[in-house]
Structure formats: C-alpha cells, structure tokens
C-alpha cells in the first residue's frame, strides 16, 4: 500500500496543477479564433487538415491540459499516488505541450509539414514523459479503490492514443506510408475520446460525485458494471476493428450502453443530492450529462444522416467533456487557493465561495451553454457559426478572468 500520499506534503505545489489549468483558457481562445475563420462546410469534412487542427487545438490544448493538471492534483486523494513532486519534470512536460500544441495545430491548419513534425514530437515527448511518470504507480495501485480500474484503462488508452497519433501524424506528413488512414484515425479517435477521456471522467466521477455533492454512492453493482462495460466495449472495438471491421457497430452498441448507464446513474444521483443549495458546478454537470446523452442520440441518427456523426463528436467533446472540465476547474481552483493558504497557517482568509465570484461563474456557464447550442445549429444555419465563435471567445476570456481572480487572492494573501 502506498502511504507516501499521507506524508506531510499533502499534494503537489499549487503551481503544478495551476500551470496547466491557467493555460487551457488561452487555447480555448485560440480555438474560438480558428473557429471564427473556418467555414462550416470545411468543419463538416472530418479528415480535412483544418478540421483536424481545430480538433487538436481543443482536445490537446484545452481538454488534455486540464486533465493533466487535475491528475497531478487528484491522484494522491483518489488512488494514493503522488505525482508532480519533481518540479523540473513538470516544467518539462508543460513547456513541451505549450510549445508543441500550437505548432502542431498551426502546422496542420496551414499544412506546413516541418511545423507539424516539430509539434508532433514536442507534444508526443511531453505526453510520453507524463505517462512514464505516472504509469507505474497507477498500475501498482490497489484495484479495490473505486477509481483505480478505470484510471488504469484511461492511462493504457492514452499510451495507445499517443502511439497511434504519432503514427498517423507521420503518415500525414509523408514520412511513413499508411494504407488505411481513415480507419486508423477512427481508431485513434475512439481510443482517445472513449478510452482516455471518458474512462478518466467516469473513474473520477465514481468518487467525486458522492463526495462533493453528498449524493447516494454509486451502488457496488453499478461501480462494477460501468467499468466492465467500458473495458468490454474497448476490447470488443479493438478486436472487431482488426478482424471484422464491418461489425464495429456491435462495439458501438456496447459503448452506447456504457454511456447511457453512466449518464443515467449520475443524473439520478445529482437529482437526489442532499445539498440542494444552488451551485454552478452542478449546472455544469447537468450540461455535461445532457450533451453526453445528445451525443449518443446524434450518433445513431448519423446512420441515417452522416452529418450527425460530426454533431455527435461535437456534443461529446465540446459539450460533455468541455462542460464537465470547466465545472471541475471551478471546484478545484477555489479549494486549492483556500487549502494552500490555510495550510500555511493563515485563518483570516476568504471562504471557497468568495474566491471566484459566483455570479461571474453563472454568466460564463450561460455563455458556454449558448455557444454549444449555436455551434450545433450552425451546421444547419452556417451564418450562426460566427456568432457561436464570438460567444465562445467571450466565454473563454470570462473563464480566464474568473480563474485569475482566484489567483490574485492567493497572491495577495500568501
């Protein structure tokens, strides 16, 4: 059993998660700008360079940075593993991503191979170092922990998504030859979004939803069934992908079951939470769960009208993942500011609720919800896309301002 997380250093230095968190809104702003200038009919083409660039600006620049920051902070509490203790390594990971993500995205967007190549390696090495740092401890963790099995699936999936991503990227540049680019890309998308991101979110949810909102616990059968379905679906998907690609719809059906069960169980718990007081992060969770359900509906409509596959992807990544991670940021930042101040012996400090203005967070949530709706509608009314991108830019600036207000409090008191 790992007892190091209960040492006197109770978690990483505050700068470790904050570095990743505070950079994510900047990529959100870049994403909004790129979205503003990219025509909607280009975005509809899934494998177009500009679309792939936009996708990675969001998935790497926003989602991955927030998830890395959250993992550095939450692994000690959730599974008893301390990471982020070596500041030099954390800096290295951060700088490689900070340098590599814009280079990769810009290189892809403008089809400048050398930028894409440098960006690919920079991002890949950053993620590689992160994975090397946490993998051994995560895989050694006691599987009885609620979050451990899916955390392991998530980390294993990130390894696979990384290798596939580098392979596809090199193929795109022309360094190696890939026969089935689209099929491999589809595999990469499923492993990255469902294997890495979804598994991680579910793994964390099983612990933090009951903890933070005082809801009934996920029942033991549910805690066993959800990981079982997710792991089974990923395994089935991989087997069918390589042996019987035409039957991959079976894996999609199983994935749907996993998503529905998770969304239903989570919404049920949030509705039965004992803490009925208004909380912006609960609304973020509801937004996240509703867009997750919408992504499933869109996916199956996609078999009738293929445009809905794109809408499903947007609903899943921007709706479900984007909302949930912003909600988590609004929970984690105020807590960390308070925790680090109070742990240093200061008692005359603001409470968690006073660190970021509640009203400002509600405004930012409404802006983000409006953006999701308008962005989805813009595939039917292309002119709306400019409005959607503008609202996202305002929402992202607002997110950054809200986050900075927390940091200012920390700096002024520490």
């Amino acid at each position: 059993m790992n007892t190091s997380s209960l040492s006197l250093d109770q978690g990483p230095n505050i700068s470790v998660p904050f570095r990743f968190f505070y950079t994510a809104p900047l990529f959100f702003i870049f994403f909004a700008i790129a979205l503003f200038f990219t025509p909607i009919d280009v975005i509809e083409l899934r494998f177009n360079s500009q679309t792939v660039s936009l996708v990675h600006l969001f998935t790497l620049g926003v989602l991955t940075l927030i998830m890395f920051g959250a993992l550095f902070q939450m692994l000690p509490v959730l599974i008893g593993v301390v990471v982020g203790g070596n500041i030099v390594v954390v800096w290295f990971i951060y700088l490689l991503l900070l340098f590599g993500i814009p280079l990769f995205s810009f290189g892809l967007y403008s089809q400048i191979d050398i930028l894409m190549l440098i960006g690919t390696f920079s991002v890949a090495i950053g993620i590689f170092i992160f994975l090397v740092n946490i993998s051994i401890d995560v895989f050694k963790a006691d599987r009885k922990g609620k979050s451990v099995p899916l955390m392991q699936v998530s980390i294993a999936s990130l390894w696979m998504a990384l290798l596939l991503g580098v392979f596809i990227s090199l193929g795109r540049i022309g360094i190696i030859e890939i026969e089935s680019y689209e099929a491999l890309s589809n595999f990469h998308i499923v492993i990255a979004l469902f294997g890495w991101a979804f598994s991680l979110i579910v793994s964390v949810s099983l612990s933090i939803v009951p903890m933070f909102y005082v809801t009934p616990e996920y029942t033991p059968s549910c805690r066993r069934a959800i990981p079982f379905i997710i792991i089974g679906a990923l395994f089935l998907f991989a087997v069918l992908f390589f042996l019987y690609p035409s039957l991959s719809i079976v894996a999609e059906f199983v994935i749907t079951q996993g998503i529905l069960m998770y969304a239903y169980q989570t919404i049920k718990r949030l509705r039965r939470r004992r803490r009925k007081i208004p909380d912006v992060t609960v609304s973020y969770w509801y937004t996240s769960m509703l867009t997750l359900l919408l992504s499933v509906i869109f996916w199956w409509i996609g078999y009738i009208e293929p445009l809905f596959f794109t809408l499903s992807f947007i609903s899943f990544s921007i709706g479900f993942l984007g909302s949930l991670l912003q909600g988590m940021i609004y929970k984690i930042i105020p807590f960390l500011v308070w925790f680090h101040l109070s742990s240093s012996g200061k008692w005359d400090i603001p409470t968690i609720k006073e660190i970021i203005d509640e009203e400002d967070m509600w405004v930012q949530l409404r802006l983000y919800q409006l953006f999701i709706v308008l962005f989805l509608l813009s595939f039917f009314l292309p002119l709306i896309k400019i409005v959607a991108a503008s609202i996202l830019a305002i929402s992202s600036v607002s997110l950054l301002i809200n986050m900075v207000s927390g940091w200012k409090i920390y700096i002024s008191i520490r």
Partner: protein, 145 residues
Amino acid sequence: MSQYISIYLTEDHRHCDMLLAQAEELVSEKKFKEAVSAVEEFSKAMMNHLEREELILFPAFEERTSMVNGPTQVMRMEHEQVRQLVKQLGEAASIENEKKFFGLSETLLIFVQQHNSKEEQMLYQMADKHLGDISAEIVAKMKDI
C-alpha cells in the same frame, strides 16, 4: 472482521456529511433557529468522530506500526483545520449570516471530503490490516465516545 474499523469510521463520515447537508438545507430555508441546533448536532458528531480517531485509533495504529510522524500526524493537522471551520460555521449560523454560512459550509465540505478520502482509501485500510486482531475492541472503545 478485518474490515471492521474502516466500515465503522466510513459510516461515521457519511453520518457527519448528512448532518451538515441538513444544516445547509435549514439555512437555505431561512430557518435559522433550527439551523443553529442542526449545526450543534453536526458539530457534536464531528468532534466525537475526531476524538474517536485521535484518542483511540491513532495511538493504537502508531503503537502497532511505529509510524508516529506519518499519516496520523497529517490527519491530526487537518483535524485542527476542521475544528476551526466548524467553530466559524456555528458562529455564522448564530448571527444568521447566510452568505458566510454557505461559504464556510462549502469550504468545510470540500476540505473534509478530501480528508475523508485519504483516510478511507489509505489510513483505514492500513488500520484494518495492522489492527485486524483487535479491531472489535477498538471499535467498541470508539463507540463509547
């Protein structure tokens, strides 16, 4: 009965969570008189829980494992932070300062949850492992508080 200590103390955590949620509900309904009593009930339950650990569990654990400056010391430090917050929460309820109350209750809840998580995921599991043969006796002593 190897899981005895962890089950008993984890249930005690949930009991305290429920009492805090009840107090929050009463304040949100502006029933301040009842809320003050609810905070007192919560405070009593929480203080008892902390004493169960500090007076019974931690000394037994430290004696058995010789880990005196390890996890139990961190938990004791965090208990002091909990005590401080609970005291401030009671004051906010008694002066009917709703905003302050919810700020403190949110702070307390999040802080206590991460604290509980560390105890439940690690410390109690270690206690079950190292104190398994005397767990019934330890739980009986804790129940007396």
